[in-house]
């Protein structure tokens, strides 16, 4: 028989919600930044593409400096890499390794877990955008337009890609998510107006590609940042539809185990 030491004398209770969410968001961000493959996807690839395609005339990006065309596309790519690809892969493996299951038995409510994940995605995106903006300025970027529209596009793009990423992570096996998320990343990188202008594609293909979330995001960012356009309603509308579809389907089909 052990004597009582009082160390484990029951005194249950959940921590205050803001503390739980902050702790969870911090941990999720640390896990992401510690993961080499994730960093490759979210930091190295976008930066390399920006530098390479600005410096070397590989793709005809139309009139003006190529960095002015590329920077908005690369910002869209950064959002996709974190909110969609990175989040899908990380969440898929968290599901596979029972992390989501175990957290489900903790005092942290599920909505708070999702809030923390969103915070972690946003923090990562801010870091990406700061880095890419500095690099773009170094390459001679001269952006225009209203920053409010830019933020609106980035936020709605994040929501749309998060919904699609979570849908994938919550329904497919972790390995399938890993493969599919990378494949989709690659396809959308090429066919979503990130570094290759959509005008290069045949008309019929173009009108389909324009409806992709990555095309709407890169096109909207380009309209504002390169051409100083006003509120990009059409692109925001496309992103809003993807957001509703993606988050709606994720909420319905996501499996925690």
């Amino acid at each position: 028989m052990s004597a009582t030491t009082g160390v484990f004398t029951p005194k249950p209770g959940a921590a205050p919600l803001p503390r739980m969410i902050r702790a969870q968001a911090l941990l999720e961000t640390k896990m992401l930044l510690r993961n080499g493959e994730q960093l490759l996807l979210t930091v190295v690839i976008p930066t390399l593409l920006l530098v390479l395609f600005s410096a070397v005339d590989i793709v005809d990006t139309g009139k003006g400096k190529s960095v002015d065309f590329l920077a908005p596309g690369i910002l869209a790519l950064a959002v996709m890499s974190t909110a969609f690809t990175g989040q899908a892969i990380a969440t898929g493996f968290e599901r596979r390794y029972g992390v989501l299951k175990r957290l489900g038995a903790s005092p942290l409510p599920r909505w708070a877990l999702m809030t923390a994940k969103t915070c972690s995605v946003l923090v990562t995106e801010v870091l990406q955008i700061v880095l890419l903006t500095v690099v773009a300025f170094a390459l001679g970027w001269s952006p225009h337009g209203n920053p409010v529209w830019v933020v609106l596009l980035l936020v709605l793009g994040t929501a749309a890609f998060s919904g699609l990423g979570l849908l994938m992570a919550g329904t497919l096996k972790a390995e399938a998510t890993l493969a599919a998320a990378n494949l989709v990343f690659l396809l959308l990188l090429v066919g979503g107006g990130v570094i290759v202008p959509l005008e290069k594609f045949p008309g019929a293909v173009q009108s389909v590609l324009q409806l992709l979330p990555i095309s709407a995001l890169s096109d909207g960012l380009r309209d504002v940042l390169q051409h100083g356009a006003g509120l990009p309603l059409a692109d925001l509308g496309i992103l809003a539809v993807w957001t509703v579809l993606g988050l709606g389907a994720a909420a319905k089909f996501f499996r925690w185990e």
Binding site: S2, P10, K11, G13, E94, K101, G104, P109, E257
Partner: protein, 320 residues
């Protein structure tokens, strides 16, 4: 002892059982995992849930933890419905899954501190780390920890929130003897501090060593429940074993023994006598051996163990 300050969340004290399961049915497609299971777990003790693979142990425990919805029957944990009252129940229970539950890239201490930060009055993390020998894990990420270290981290995560009730699913699977004893000591200390413990296990000695109450599950039902002593006494007879020359004439031995005794040659030269083994019976067997010129090597009287009871109740054949 620590005092509970008046500002803490209200707690229901010991009135209702820790766990009360009535007529639980759980199916996965065409397969019935739990089939009308009844189980009551009293507060403040250690209850071991024993059963062969596929008996329904994990399903039962996971239904109590709120992971599964019962197809029929009722489940109450600390008086609450694990699904409907999940938000109120979760802070009060501690859960150790059979495996996983930790970010692949997280370090042991980091994960334990994080789990502690989700609770209002956690146990001192440094103390837990030292007690469970997790200080040697250093900066190693979870995926590179040994199986035993992963198990101990999961145990620490289950108790760090100072819960009233903990569910431990096979807490010592894959542990070396030292780690196993460290785990047992911790579980005993939980009981001494007033925590109720429900653990599933394959190890009979673990149940015998730790449990105040044992529930044996088979085919999705509880087929026996009681203290280890009661279970071992109930209906069970003792055993006398010895080895000698193969092919002894057991019929003549049986004539010398009192009625209701049985004697068999288990394998060549290994004999077993079952019945009420008292000094008189022992003398009868040895004198019969003397008459037959047999040296009864390795003669031993065996108390009925929990393992015997378990095998008797659940059958000896291997299950898929």
């Amino acid at each position: 002892m620590r005092s509970t300050s008046p500002g803490d969340a209200p707690r229901t004290h010991g009135r209702e059982p820790a766990v009360e399961v009535t007529g639980l049915v759980k199916r996965y497609g065409p397969k019935t995992a739990v089939n009308g299971l009844d189980l009551t777990v009293a507060r403040g003790g250690i209850t071991a849930v024993l059963g062969p693979n596929g008996a329904g142990k994990t399903t039962t425990v996971e239904t109590c933890e709120g992971y599964r919805r019962a197809d029929a029957g009722t489940v109450r944990v600390l008086g609450l419905d694990p699904v409907a009252d999940a938000a109120a129940l979760r802070p009060r229970i501690g859960v150790m899954l059979q495996s996983g539950g930790v970010y692949a890239g997280a370090r042991a201490e980091e994960m334990l501190r994080h789990t502690a930060s989700l609770h209002a009055h956690p146990v001192d993390v440094d103390l837990l780390i030292e007690r469970l020998g997790l200080d040697s894990c250093g900066r190693t990420s979870y995926r590179r920890l040994s199986g035993g270290q992963q198990q101990r981290l999961a145990l620490a995560m289950a108790v760090v929130g100072r819960p009233e009730l903990v569910f431990l699913d096979e807490p010592t699977a894959g542990l070396d003897p030292q780690a196993r004893h460290a785990t047992w000591d911790l579980v005993r200390e939980l009981r001494a501090d007033g925590v109720s413990v429900v653990l599933t296990t394959h190890f009979m000695d673990e149940a015998e060593q730790l449990a105040d109450d044992v529930a044996i599950i088979d085919g999705g039902r509880v087929i026996a429940q009681g203290s280890p002593e009661t279970l071992c006494k109930g209906g069970a007879e003792n055993t006398l074993r010895f080895t000698g020359r193969p092919g002894l004439d057991l019929a003549s031995l049986l004539k010398a023994l009192p009625p209701h005794c049985a004697a068999v040659e288990l394998t060549s030269g290994a004999y077993r006598v079952t019945g009420t083994i008292d000094p008189q019976l022992l003398a009868t067997v040895t004198s019969w051996c003397a008459q037959n010129g047999v040296m009864p090597d390795r003669i031993a009287v065996e108390r009925h163990t929990l393992e015997d009871v378990f095998l008797e109740l659940t059958g000896k054949e291997l299950r898929a």
